[in-house]
Symmetry: C2
């Protein structure tokens, strides 16, 4: 089905390629790239407590281009997250595209409930296939109906399948955290994604 198909694609076409170490000089896994980032930006190790990729799976399928836009305690508009520098790029040839580039973004999170606390850095992004699914729903006259009616099943199936694939993968199990969350309640109050990540 569509949801689990996307999960297999997302794992085999992306996570499995960018997260683990491959033992070659040129392709560094996510742990090494985070350590390089810590050294390059002279951070304390405690500033980067979780050396994994956070993958956001919002029930609404909506992921903004910049995660800071979902890091406020609405209707307050102070953002908790801000984009910092990216990790080093990963570059390799794939399916005829020479030197395809894979990039991961680092975000700095300020806990606005405890202003004295040290900001925390994380590598986070939305699960891209869901954003694409969202674009199909909002852009395609033919399929929009079909996708919209099954939206809930699709995302649940995506989440569960991805969670199972990762749990069964020796290479990737400890290198990412999947966060499924309900981002709009009846008041359309936006969840502060930063809060969720900090937990």
């Amino acid at each position: 089905d569509y949801g689990s198909g996307m999960a297999y694609n997302f794992f085999y076409g992306y996570l499995r390629l960018v997260l683990p170490e491959f033992g070659t000089q040129s392709v560094k896994g996510i742990k090494k790239r985070i350590e390089t980032f810590i050294n390059k930006h002279r951070l304390s190790d405690s500033a980067f407590p979780v050396k994994k990729l956070f993958i956001l799976i919002p029930k609404s399928l909506y992921i903004p281009t910049d995660l800071k836009d979902v890091s406020t305690d609405w209707p307050d508009d102070k953002c908790w997250m801000d984009a910092a520098m990216s990790l080093e790029d990963q570059v390799f040839d794939r399916a005829g595209v020479k030197q395809r580039l894979y990039k991961n973004s680092v975000y700095k999170i300020k806990n606005r409930d405890s202003p004295g606390a040290q900001p925390v850095y994380v590598v986070a992004e939305g699960a891209t296939p869901l954003k694409t699914c969202y674009d199909v729903i909002n852009g395609d006259p033919k399929m929009s109906r079909v996708f919209k009616d099954h939206q809930h099943d699709i995302i649940l199936s995506f989440y569960k399948t991805l969670r199972d694939i990762i749990r069964d993968s020796d290479d990737c199990r400890d290198l990412c955290e999947i966060i499924y969350y309900v981002d709009t309640d009846d008041n359309k109050k936006r969840i502060n994604v930063a809060r969720i990540i900090l937990e």
Copy 2:
């Protein structure tokens, strides 16, 4: 179903983002980027006859990392295609990843049947979701059986759905050429992809 799902993902998550012009300085569509390439490398316009993206859809799902590997008249090993420089990169934020980079590769094709003829340049790549599907079949103990049994339906559904989506898209219809081909016959003779492109 899985094949058509992949086609929607490929179109909305990629083709629709990289092919058309968007009227902004920073995001150039494929035609402009090809024209920039022609000028930058001082090519004649006839050296780059088709200003579109060639998308290869091999029945076997196998796409090598470098397309030159499928451009020989097996068992001869003279390649017809060679990777040239890439087009300019396209960079924009997507789903929380800042400055994600999209790249397309240019290949130079020498027609070895007519050695005197001018080499021809094209922008070509495999349809990456198929390579990912191939990786699932060859890498995943759980799903490999399922995917393998339906491989033929998956790829046919992918091809037909993609062809229809593109045909219905005003933005992308004239900006890409989809090539579905059978790449292995009973003798496992590899098709010369370069020949197909030249037609």
